[in-house]
Structure formats: C-alpha cells, structure tokens
Amino acid sequence: MSTESLVPVTVLTGFLGAGKTTLLNRILTEQHGKRIAVIENEFGEIGIDNSLVINAEEEVFEMNNGCICCTVRGDLIRILGSLMKRRERFDYILIETTGLADPAPVAQTFFVDDDIRSKLRLDGVVTLVDAKHVWLHIDESSECQEQIAFADVIVLNKIDLVPADQVDTLEARIRSMNAMARIIRAENANVGIPAILDVGGFDLARALETKPTFLEPEYPFEWGGAYALRAGTYTLTMQEGPDPTMDLLLVRHDGADNAVREQTEHAARRFSYEAVPYGPGGILTPGDVPSSLQLASRGASQFLVEIPADGTYVLYTEHRPEEFAATLMAKDGATVSPISEHTYNPEHEHDDEVTSVGIATPGSLDGKKLNAWFSALLMEKGVDIFRMKGILSLKGEAERFVFQGVHMLFDARPGGAWRVNETRHNQLVFIGRNLNRAELESGFRNCLA
C-alpha cells in the first residue's frame, strides 16, 4: 500500500500547562481543509462541534516478544482500529498525550501493530515546551527529557513570558538534546499548522530531504589550526583552563590548501584512539596518536614540539586554544600563528543525560560489519536510544540505505540512487540517554569498508 493512502497521525506531547489544549483548539478551529479526529488522554478539555473527539485512558502494554524495551499503547490499538472503520469521517488524526506520558510506547505502536501499520502512518511527534516553567523539569524529569528527545517539532511556547536571552539559552539546551527536531518559537501556541502537521518525521522518503541540524557533524575536537612549520623545535605554552587536561593531535598535511578541512575526518578517527599522556616538559611529535597534555594546576605548562621536516601541520585540540591561552613559539621566541583555522561545534555546557550524537563521514560501509555493529548496539543500548535516523552508503549498493527507528525497532529501505560521480557519504543521528559519543563514532567508523 502506498503511503499516500495511509492516514497521517500526529502525536502532541508536553507537560500540563505547556499549551497543548490551546494548540489543539487552534488546530481544530483554523481553516486548513482537514477533517481531524482527536484522541485525547486528558479529559474534557476541548469541545469543538463537528469534530470527532475521543477520550482514551492511557494503557501501556509490554510486548512479550523478547524485546525488553518494547511497549505499546493498548488503548490506541483499540481506538485507532475502531476509528479506521469510520474512515470517511476524517483525514487526519491527532493524539494528545497526558503531560507525563512517555512518547516511546505511542511511537512503537506504529511499528509493532500490523493493523495500525497497514492503515496509518505516524507523521510526527510535536512537543510543546513552556519556555518559563520547563526549567523546573528539564534536569529532573525523565518524561520531560523524553518528550523533547522524541520530538520532530518542538514548540517553545510562552516566549513572551521570559527574556529573549533565556529563550536563546533554552533553545541551545534543547538543540543539544535533540539535534533532529525543528524548533519553533511561539507565544500563546500561535504556530502555523503546516509547521506541525504533515512534517514526515518518520517518513523514510522524506528523511532524504536535507535537514541542516541533522547533517551537522560533531567532532571530538573543538578547534583545528594549520601551521606552516620548519623543521625544528617549537614550544607550546598553556595556562590552566576549564579542564586539567587537553587532548590534541598534530598531523602532517601534504600541500597547503584546505589543510584543516581535509584532515578533519582522519583526525576524528584518530582522536578515538587512546591518548598518550604528557606532563609539562614532554616532547610532542606529529603522528597518528593523540596526546593528552597533563596541565599544571596553576600557571603555565610548557611542552616541546619536534617538527621533523618543513611542511604544513594541522593541530586539532579538544578545547579551543584561547580557553587555555595556548601559544606556539618558534625557537627564536616568535609566536607562530596558524595560516588557517576552524572552530567546530563547541561542547555543550551541560552534561545532559539526553543528547544527540550525529555522525557524518564520507566513504562506504561494509554491510556485514554494519549489521553486526548495529545489532549489538541495539541489543546493548536500545533502551537508551530514543530515536535514530540515517542515510548510509553501503559498498556495492547503487542506492542509498535509509533507516529510522525508535529504541530497538526500526524501518529501513533503499532510498534513491547515488549519482555516478557523487561522493559517497553517511549521515546518522542518535538521540538518547547516556550515549557515548566516542564509542558510537568509533564503532560506526569501524564499519567503513
């Protein structure tokens, strides 16, 4: 059955008071040409004539299918099944969850139940966030974190009640938790309907549409700088900074142009190797193993850098050099400045439990290795992975491989042929709790053919 004949379903989540009812009423009263059936889990809040509104009591069922985190919403299976027998009365379904609902069972219902799969498609999860009061929950409440993590669209509501810089901070925080979602700001839930309905959040075909935040790669270093160096000894001086250690990697680059960018992928792979510790006075050399500089607790620490031959060298550092007032000096005492540099997405200020890990790398993957890695990953970490999406290049395959999933459940299929001269590349994102970025990255990179 083609996806066009499937009835789209949007799930609306958010804490009590975040504005779900206001948004629902707005959707139901606005002229958009859609006949919407609403399933609400919070009693009697909306009352619009001529709308099909059904009250449901949340019933979360564990699936006895050997998948430990697989839960579904039994109430939705019954109610959606019944609704589909009155198919001609509506063309869109909205499910409003309770404030404390976990979105996972709702989403998983659309993967697990065959009746639902054959007649409906989950279009997206829309999460309303109360810009003022969310700070009370965002650190403590796992439900709040999960609602943000699961979302395809996040509406920062009531922004008129907080200062603009606080909204910025909130947005950055939410972005670090969910790099995949579209974030929309609103006062009184005044959001355009096209921004929240028919977003295709779980649609593999639409996963191919470029989403900048989704594609933004993340690297284990924050800064890279290319230097034109002569053979000889240089001195790297650093003051104490936000961390007692600083990892770095120095690689040689043939040629002079685009050195930082061209070495990025190589450096990212090498950065996952165990770093060799160096105390002050240690002698660093260019190579394929990162160094971990152990800084003195107060004042300057100096390290020697041995350059074997004239050339272009790129230095990648875990933190931005200015955080440590780092300087590189030639033997004659002159400060050496990079010929080019790049700052990568900065580390998040919060050590959030819930984070997004995006991986982007050129090349093609070995299908067997990928399968083994992915199976093991879902077995071990499926509980912690809320959502994932990816567009991958498999060696020997003419088409892209597209997948998306929730916990241990996922859909995958070929999605669009690679062009003849196109650079094959892979993009994927995981959103979850306690994700180990370095482990995910090295695991994935090991699957490269």
């Binding site: 059904i54 069922f61 564990e62 299918n65 039994g74 019954r78 019944s82 139940d113 065959d114």
Partner: protein
Amino acid sequence: MSRSDTGAPATLVRGRWAVRIPEYPLALTWTDRAGDRLAMISAEGTLASIETVDGDGLWRVQAHKGGACTVQASPDGSTLASGGQDGYARLWDADQGEQLAEIALKGWVEHAAWAPNGEWIAVAAGRVVTLCTKAGTVAATWGDHPSTISSLAWRPDSAQLAVGHYGGVTLRAPVDERPIRRLERKGSILSVAWHPHGRHLAAGCQDQAVQVWNMRKSDHLYMSGYNTKLTSIAWSQTGRYLATAGGPGATIWDFSGKGPKGSRPLSVVGHEDLLTALAWAPTESLIVTADAAGGTNLSRITDKIVRTFARIDSTVAVSSVAWRPDGRGFVIAQEDGSVQAYDRNAADA
C-alpha cells in the same frame, strides 16, 4: 439498502443475494435458528435486520449515536444486545427492532456476550464487565480487571465467563462478586474461545501467539511464531480442531489424541493477504476463511488434510463471516458494507 443478485462467483458455492449498507459492518448475528433472518451492526451505529431468503431489509434503527461496537443475538434469536461508543448497552426485539432495555455504562461498550442458556448477557465497557439478566437488569458489576476488557466468552454450560484482558484471563461465575480464578499470561490477550466441552480455553495474543489452557490439568500450550497478532481463533464443532489466524492463512491445531504438542499444524493457504475472519460450519469440519484482500476460501479438514474446494474473489476486505445455523451456507460482510449470502452446493465434497 440496495439489493442485487450476485452471479456464480465460484464453483461449489452459489451466491444468492447481496445487500449493501454503505457503512463498515462490525458484526453479523442470526436471529432465528432456521437461518432465515440475520442482524448486522455497522461502525456508524446502524442496526439492521435482513431476511435471508431474498436479502430483503426488514427494519433498521440507529442503535448508537456516535458509532457502535458490537451486536449479538440471544441463543433463541429473539433479542439483540448491542453496545456502542455512546456508553450504552441496549436490548432490541429482533422481530421489530424495538428497544427493550438500556443499560448506561461508562466508556465504549465494546463487547456483549449472551450466555448459551439465554439467561445472562455480559457487557464490557473499559475495565468493567456488567452482568445483566436477559431482561436487562444489572445483576453484577465486575471492575477488578487490570486493563480494558478485550474479549468475553461464556463456557458452553453457561457456568463461567472468561474475560480477556492484558496479562491474562479472569474467570467469573454469575453472580459471584469475586472471580473464580485468574489465568496469567504475559502480554495482551485479544480474544478468548472455549472448547465446546469446556476442556480448554484458547486465547489469541497481541504477541503473535496462541495460549491454550487445559482446564483439567495444569498442562498449557503456548504456540508462538505467527506473522501478526492473532485476529481470530475458533474451535471446530466437535472441539477437535482449533483454527487460529495471525497472518495470511489459518493455522489449525489438532487436539485429538495426545493433542497438538510437538505436532505440525495444518494450514489453510491460498490467501493473498492477512486473514480477517474465520468461521467453522456448525455441523462438520468445514471452515470459511476470509482475508483483507477480499478473498474467501471454503475448506474441508479431514484427518491430516486441508482441501480448499471453493473460493470467492472480491477486491474489498472481508470483515466478518457467519455460517447459517443449519450449515447450508454462510454470509460474508465486507468493509464497504456489502453483505452476501452463499449456499453450499449440494454436490460439494
């Protein structure tokens, strides 16, 4: 109601008539033992009576505002019990379509089951089962179930009611306040069916499995590996076979001798889509199976062989099947609201 004659859709079954009420038919139930009258209810709440010789409509009423869930005729066919999304269970005179009684409940009334002795009617709304007399007087209210009720089934002797729900089945006796016992099964139970002699209780599960409890010994069977959740289960008239549907065909377990443990089941094949309905003939081991692609097969089960000897093709999913009480034919209802009667050809195998 529109009416037309159907052609001869397949050998060995003969189409007799077709009517169409353009609403999704939820259930079919016979309102006389001879098989001359049938009632059906639609998802929109229309309750209609059809005379089955020519397919003429006898009466129709709007039984439930906002949609219906179920209908079942009493064993003598005189009274219909319906349940709807309006929160009511209603009793109807099957002759005239007059309302006899109304029971106000909370939430959708999704299931109604007459006791085989015709004395009781059990209705389920949410987690609560309400037991009523045949006149519609509430005799007991049972609310101690862990989830919304998914199914009701009376033991053939009318002494016990099996209530299916998440986590198992609760067995109750009229009009005892406390349950007799609870049969535990992890996961969600979708349907329950009693063996005709009350020996076994079978349950179709959301988890793509069938659980069968032996009611005399603590010897239970769990058959997993179906393609989908279980959409139908039914015992053959003698109780020898248990037909189960959870995929594009029916799996039939043979309970004769030592039972199905360790044996290979029989299969009804030849369906192009998931099975939506199955029904055993009331007098012999003939089974009608129907699917979401619109195909209906008539098969005979003998010792170790399934022989499908008639097929009706259509393009609209079949939603329910009901054999005439005398076994001479059956009626199928399709999702577009068409209802068709077929006679078995006397010459069939």
